[in-house]
């Protein structure tokens, strides 16, 4: 059993973010990064499968040198080996480009199961998992709250709107994109951190994956036009008084606007 876990490194949730000069991304200098929170739950799920039986856990991440920190953390938590895809040619890729890179890694590794987070804390697109599954030609499920072995695959409980759950069965090989909070993510122990020093980490380029000229800004169908902080609005009206008074006035305002 081989499990491939896709990890994205994102700015730390407490980092002070400033927009870069081009206005299309944030200034990355001097801020801390961490593993995308959704992906940590995917990693924990993979490690639990490993703990329960025979499984090799391989982690992969795309990005500059700093992403080795995320991969080392995963190795410290118990993953067996890491793949760092590092190539300036990949910079500026859209979600499809990233999915192509990850699918190419998956093609080389032939995992029985791919685990990843439903979305990233920074991009919030939720696009890469289904795209990657399509490129791999394997079944997938997103927003998975629980995955249990069933026959030759996994029975997944997906979170739907309004708190409803949907149950789907996936035959292996398959891809599962997890929702946050489905497990308690372990810490990397000091013993694990020291053991990680001896675990292998391969570096691959776009060329190594047969993707030269296919990914990156040139091949992107979507490009970031600009990012900006929301402009602070003005003219908010504060309704004061007792609860009854406030509710009465609020209903009046809504009626005034023709919304009721």
């Amino acid at each position: 059993m081989k499990i491939l876990v896709c990890l994205k490194q994102v700015p730390h949730q407490d980092a002070r973010l400033d927009i870069d000069g081009a206005g299309t991304w944030i200034k990355e200098d001097g801020i801390k990064f961490e593993i995308n929170s959704y992906d940590t739950f995917a990693l924990e799920e993979a490690l639990r499968i490993k703990d329960a039986g025979e499984a090799e856990v391989v982690v992969v991440s795309i990005g500059p040198d700093r992403v080795t920190q995320a991969l080392r953390t995963a190795l410290g938590m118990g993953a067996d080996r890491a793949i760092h895809v590092k190539d300036a040619e990949i910079d500026g890729s859209d979600t499809l480009g990233i999915a192509k890179v990850l699918a190419a890694v998956a093609k080389e590794e032939s995992p029985d199961l791919v685990l990843m987070g439903l979305m990233s804390d920074d991009g919030n697109a939720s696009a890469v998992p289904p795209m990657m599954a399509e490129l791999m030609g394997v079944p997938s499920a997103t927003a998975v709250m629980k995955a249990t072995p069933e026959g030759d695959g996994y029975r997944c409980e997906r979170e739907l709107e309004g708190g409803a759950l949907e149950v789907v069965d996936l035959a292996k090989p398959c891809l599962i994109a997890v929702q946050s909070g489905l497990n308690q993510v372990r810490y990397a122990s000091l013993k694990g951190i020291m053991a990680a020093k001896k675990k292998p980490m391969d570096t691959k380029s776009a060329g190594d994956l047969g993707l030269s000229g296919v990914v990156g800004a040139a091949g992107a169908k979507a490009q970031i036009e600009k990012i900006y902080a929301p402009v602070r609005g003005e003219g908010a009206e504060i309704i004061e008084g007792s609860t009854d008074e406030v509710v009465t006035q609020l209903v009046g305002k809504i009626k005034e606007l023709g919304l009721l």
Binding site: Q69, G76, Y187, A188, S189, I193
Partner: protein, 381 residues
């Protein structure tokens, strides 16, 4: 360029682990620990599992066999627990009560007390200060009199951290009142020994730690509980103090840095006379001054850590660092209260708590005056 001995990839990973532990297990419960007047000791087991309680100790006893740089990383992050008392309770266990045992203890003592302490199954306290002997350690009176294969202990200790929660004490007692500095001995006293009791003390700060007075009335422990040589306790304790002081500096500066950051955020949000407090020159100048002080303190502490990592004597620098950091932390707390105005005077505010917590840095582990007295001698006065 050679690798910074304080900043390898492994240091960063360990920092990440301690930071997560602090953010998930300690900071959300910081006020709960204040209410409890102590730390949730069940978290010690978790810390033991993560390898946090024996960083510099021999792997043979469950330690990690690492150097001081990892201790510095750990207390930089634990210092951000928003509860100085909790950080103090942990550091008493890892760096104040156990170093002598690890360095000088017999194999049997290490198996009995060090192994479970590193695993998080036992908690320790350091029992040195007495009602009539604080920084003047040589003035202590608690006596241990030999009776066959046992020590019979009588006396009292005061201001002892982990008083209620400790499973064992690293006690400094007088074993030969006529031998001067050669008349003291370090003895391990299990807190379930008959004749031992404690009373908790009500402190003005550091509410998350259980501080108390200890009483020993004909407490009997085996002579085999002696740490190192009989009569070498004073010297061993002085060595143990160096770790205590450096750990206190690391965590205190980390806590003050967090307060500075919190105050900056407050100043950016707080609108006064139509503009944020942070846009006023007085705020900017004072914040820069505090930042400068904190940076200087951090660099001094890092120099101490580098010396400890290199195995060099750092006694003078640690002494000066303790003196300097205490002053910096007190000033940061005082100025940050001022920026917060009335809210800063509330117990719930970080600045308000830091104001009372930081006062201890210039007292515990040897007062400022003890540091000054020592350095005056070193400088030939």
């Amino acid at each position: 360029m050679s690798q910074d001995p304080l900043n390898s990839p492994e240091h960063e990973l360990f920092r990440e682990t301690v930071r997560r532990f602090t953010e998930e297990e300690l900071r959300p419960r910081a006020r709960e620990f204040d209410e409890m007047g102590r730390f949730d000791t069940s978290l010690f087991k978790k810390m033991g599992d993560l390898g946090m309680l024996g960083l510099r100790y021999d792997p043979k006893y469950g330690g990690a066999g690492l150097d001081w740089s990892y201790s510095a990383v750990m207390f930089e992050e634990l210092g951000r627990a928003d509860n100085a008392g909790v950080t103090m309770g942990i550091s008493v266990h890892t760096d104040m009560a156990t170093p002598s045992l690890a360095e000088f203890g017999s194999e049997e003592l290490k198996q009995q007390f060090l192994v479970p302490s590193i695993a998080g199954d036992m908690l320790s306290a350091i029992a040195v200060t007495e009602p009539d002997a604080g920084s003047d350690v040589s003035g202590i009176r608690t006596r241990a009199v030999r009776d066959g294969d046992e020590w019979v202990i009588n006396g009292s200790k005061i201001y002892i951290t982990n008083a209620a929660t400790a499973d064992w004490l690293c006690l400094l007692a007088v074993t030969n009142p006529d031998a001067g500095y050669g008349g003291f001995t370090q003895i391990i006293v299990p807190t379930d020994a008959p004749g031992f009791r404690y009373e908790l003390l009500d402190k003005i700060g550091n509410w998350g730690s259980d501080t108390g007075q200890l009483f020993f009335e004909d407490v009997r422990v085996p002579v085999a509980n002696t740490i190192g040589e009989i009569g070498r306790g004073f010297q061993q304790q002085m060595m143990q103090f160096q770790d205590e002081r450096l750990v206190a500096c690391v965590s205190a500066i980390a806590g003050s840095s967090m307060l500075w950051e919190e105050t900056r955020s407050w100043a950016e949000e707080r609108i006064l006379f139509g503009k944020p407090l942070s846009k006023m020159q007085n705020t900017q100048f004072k914040m820069v001054e505090l930042y400068t002080q904190l940076t200087a303190a951090k660099e001094l502490v890092n120099t101490c850590v580098r010396k400890r990592v290199a195995g060099e004597d750092a006694t003078n620098l640690i002494t000066m660092a303790k003196l300097f950091c205490g002053g910096v932390c007190r000033r940061v707390a005082d100025e940050c209260i001022q920026f917060h105005g009335g809210y800063g005077y509330m117990k719930e505010s970080m600045a308000g708590r830091a104001f009372v917590d930081s006062r201890l840095i210039s007292i515990g582990g040897g007062s400022d005056e003890t540091m000054l007295f020592y350095m005056a001698k070193q400088l030939g006065f």
